[in-house]
């Protein structure tokens, strides 16, 4: 870098500065499977890292739930209109993709590219949300929440009438990539044994680079030079890619003049109206966007799970979870809800499912043998107590955290970090770094 060409490189440096946080977070998420396997792989379920770190399938769920929660925050956090209807759009995304696979809509068939379905699902829900908004935005506050809830429940009951209690399952290949270009497509979803894992050292250029790097003295002790990406992790990367695209799209909208009007509506709608903005249309279009992104989350779930049910339309389950994740993560920040879901699902994984043994109990059994079997009172052992109070009851502790956050930390994790940093992290961290490195 010479001083002779500052103008050509200045924008690159500025871009890197602005997006430092994004790069760090995305990098961390991308490297996460490697870290996880290194620390917890092959380990018995009693390892400490297995306890604390979320598993890959949890992370996959966090991806589409994160997108869903981000779309929820997009409307509720930035315009201030709490919407309980997002489960409707999420479910529509799920069922549109599944139904298209099943040729239920007449036009599409088995081989329809996933990207095409994704975009069409977004278009459909955009329209749905727009129409719904035309009706709903005559109301404000609690009434708006109630009418979106009403519509979502009606939608759920209609779907229930068609599907019944059972769900819809459409196995098959979901290819993700540039549509109609065979060589650029990778497979989604849970795989059969026939699918081969990706061996990074077989990839043309990357494999050579990795081979060289991996054999360097320092690196080879840490890094296995033959890196294989299991098929489950490929799905994680693909889902992550979709999530990143969705996040950046939403972020672009929020940081545009349109987004400023959304925030103005949240701060003081009457003043925004007085200045001359047609707040009704801004709210409506914002709601339409948020519905479209909720459908993205649903489509991701459909591609990964290849199955869907009425539960994905259920308001209290889905919108409730999204609300909790958003508050814990940080309402009004776009990335907060994803971290909120990370926390939520990780805790759920630690505490385990009802009736099953939790990771916590396994960890204690492994680390302090005999502790779990110790009888404490009433003929129950420590293990029994933990099983009663913890297994399957992650929601209790999440609820407590939620209440505490609503009372004392209304900004959520990310809001707290922002308050400490004195501004959005994307601005504060580079500024702090540049001060330190001067």
């Amino acid at each position: 870098m010479t001083a002779a060409a500052p103008s050509r490189l200045a924008w690159v440096r500025q871009y890197l500065r602005d997006h430092l946080i994004h790069i760090l977070v995305i990098g961390a998420l991308a490297l996460y499977p490697g870290v996880y396997y290194h620390l917890a792989a092959g380990a018995e379920s009693t390892g400490f890292w297995v306890l604390v770190l979320p598993g890959i399938d949890t992370m996959r769920a966090v991806m589409w739930l994160g997108v869903f929660a981000m779309s929820f925050d997009f409307i509720s956090g930035y315009t201030g209109y709490l919407s309980f209807g997002h489960s409707l759009f999420f479910g529509t995304g799920v069922f549109f993709v599944l139904g298209a696979r099943a040729s239920a809509w007449g036009v599409f068939g088995e081989g329809t590219p996933f990207m095409l379905l994704l975009v069409l699902a977004m278009g459909l829900t955009f329209l749905m949300a727009f129409l719904l908004g035309l009706v709903a935005f005559r109301l404000t506050g609690v009434y708006f929440a109630m009418i979106t809830l009403g519509f979502a429940e009606i939608g759920k009951l209609i779907v229930e009438g068609y599907i019944g209690d059972s769900g819809l399952q459409m196995p098959g290949e979901y290819l993700f990539g540039v549509p109609f270009v065979e060589s650029l497509q990778l497979k989604f979803g849970n795989f059969n044994n026939g699918d081969a894992a990706i061996h990074l050292h077989d990839v043309p250029i990357l494999g050579d680079v990795l081979g060289i790097v991996g054999n360097l003295p320092l690196v080879s002790s840490v890094l296995d030079p033959q890196i294989t990406i299991p098929t489950t992790v490929t799905a994680y990367f693909l889902l992550g890619l979709v999530a990143i695209l969705a996040y950046f799209s939403m972020q672009r909208i929020v940081h545009s003049p349109f987004g400023r009007v959304m925030i103005a509506i949240r701060e003081n709608e009457e003043r925004a109206k007085a200045i001359g903005y047609n707040t009704f249309w801004y709210k409506n279009v914002a709601f339409a966007f948020s519905g479209a992104f909720a459908a993205v989350g649903g489509a991701m779930l459909a591609a990964q799970q290849k199955a869907g049910g009425v539960v994905h339309f259920d308001v209290i389950t889905m919108a409730g979870d999204a609300l909790i994740a958003t508050i814990i993560g940080g309402m009004g920040t776009l990335a907060g809800p994803l971290f909120g879901f990370l926390f939520d699902r990780n805790l759920g994984e630690i505490f385990g499912a009802t009736g099953g043994s939790s990771e916590l109990v396994s960890f204690l059994e492994g680390t302090f043998p005999g502790l779990v079997e110790t009888g404490v009172a009433f003929g129950m052992t420590v293990g029994d107590y933990l099983g009663t109070v913890m297994s399957g009851h992650a929601q209790l502790y999440i609820g407590v955290v939620f209440v505490v956050f609503v009372l004392y930390v209304p900004g959520g994790f990310l809001g707290l970090l922002r308050a400490r940093a004195g501004g959005p992290l994307a601005k504060a961290v580079p500024a702090w770094l540049s001060r330190r490195l001067r």
Binding site: T58, M146, V403
Partner: protein, 365 residues
């Protein structure tokens, strides 16, 4: 509340080429007549009675919610969970104390009836205390914040209560199955299938009790609001809390009392719901009871108890008309009754956004 979204749902319906298949697992009720729509006076009367019964249930659940919403502007999401708590508390009283009473055949049925009334009242008092504690401890902290935060808080409280209940109940009973022991401990009149002749018409005992208790709640709350000094404070606070405070009324104390009364009413309703067949006494009963209560309160209008009562009657009759139509005419979906109540909500909110009797503003917020 958390569904294992990573799991595949059990049961598979393969989609056909021509469209999505109507599943029979949703319990389609067989038609009793496939002829043209026959609306006989007997059928109308049946719908009316069932409708009033359902209205009684809605009023019982929703009256507490209406008081809280009207005065404090707080849509209490915890109402459903606390209704469930009331159900289990009442059931526990009946099961624990009732064994001795039922065993004595001589005082049998009167004793059970008296115990039942005692159980309902005791539950009401206990839950009123619980409500007051919740208000003082939690809700009070958020008065300076926008109403959304209070709603979020009650949502969190609902979640915590539901999970705590799941743990506690799980120690003794299956939290997801109806508590049959509690139901069996109730008096004869509310047991399933027992009918009483009124004016030549056989009405189920439970319906009569619903109508009677519903009417009692309406009259009681109305009398409390209009005939007592405290009721006057509540109505004044509903209209303009700041002005009421300026006049020397301790609005904070009124809030606590109203919250307590509201939750107490919810608890009593919860105990009663043990015998109402559409609600099973499980940990999830609250979620079932919550939505119709919300709808009734919002449709009736913010700040008016009269609105809640009228909306309960309308919603009750609507729902039962839907049940009648969908059981007798196969072509209509079975989800119709549940859908009708939401359609009512949406329709009213479109036509009259403040609800049927609502005023545009509350408390000068």
């Amino acid at each position: 509340m958390s569904v294992a979204l990573g799991a595949t749902p059990t049961g598979v319906v393969e989609a056909s080429l021509s469209g999505l298949v109507q599943a029979s697992s949703s319990g389609l009720v067989q038609a009793t007549s496939t002829g043209p729509l026959q609306i006989t006076p007997a059928a109308l009367l049946e719908v009316l009675i069932e409708g009033l019964g359902t209205a009684g249930v809605y009023v019982m659940i929703a009256s507490g919610l209406s008081l809280i919403f009207g005065l404090m502007g707080v849509l209490n999401f915890a109402h459903g969970a606390l209704t469930t708590v009331g159900g289990y508390v009442g059931g526990a009283v009946l099961v624990l104390v009732g064994g001795a009473v039922i065993a004595d055949a001589a005082t049998g049925s009167i004793g059970v009836l008296a115990l039942w009334i005692v159980a309902i009242v005791a539950t009401g008092l206990l839950l009123a205390l619980l409500g007051a504690i919740i208000e003082v401890g939690l809700v009070r902290q958020l008065y300076d914040r926008p109403p959304i935060d209070q709603i979020l808080l009650t949502f969190g409280v609902a979640l915590v209560i539901q999970q705590l209940l799941r743990i506690v109940v799980g120690l003794y009973e299956d939290p997801d199955r109806h508590w049959t022991a509690a139901e069996a401990a109730g008096p004869w009149i509310v047991q399933q299938g027992n009918e009483i002749e009124v004016l030549g018409l056989a009405i189920q005992g439970i319906r009569l009790m619903e109508m009677a208790l519903g009417a009692l709640v309406v009259v009681g709350v109305w009398a409390f609001l209009t005939r007592t000094r405290y009721g006057l404070y509540i109505r004044a606070g509903s209209e303009d809390a700041e002005m009421a405070q300026a006049l020397g009324i301790d609005v904070r104390q009124v809030f606590t009392v109203v919250f307590g009364i509201g939750i107490g009413l919810a608890g009593m309703a919860g105990t009663f719901l043990i015998w109402e067949k559409t609600y099973d006494l499980t940990v999830l009963m609250g979620a079932q009871a919550l939505l119709p209560a919300f709808i009734v309160v919002v449709v009736g209008g913010l700040g008016t108890f009269k609105g809640t009562v009228v909306a309960s009657v309308v919603a009750g009759i609507f729902t039962e008309a839907g049940v009648f139509l969908s059981t007798n005419y196969e072509s209509l979906p079975t989800q119709l009754p549940s859908m009708l109540i939401f359609l009512l909500l949406v329709a009213v909110l479109i036509v009259k956004p403040q609800g049927l009797f609502g005023q545009a503003e509350v408390g000068g917020h």
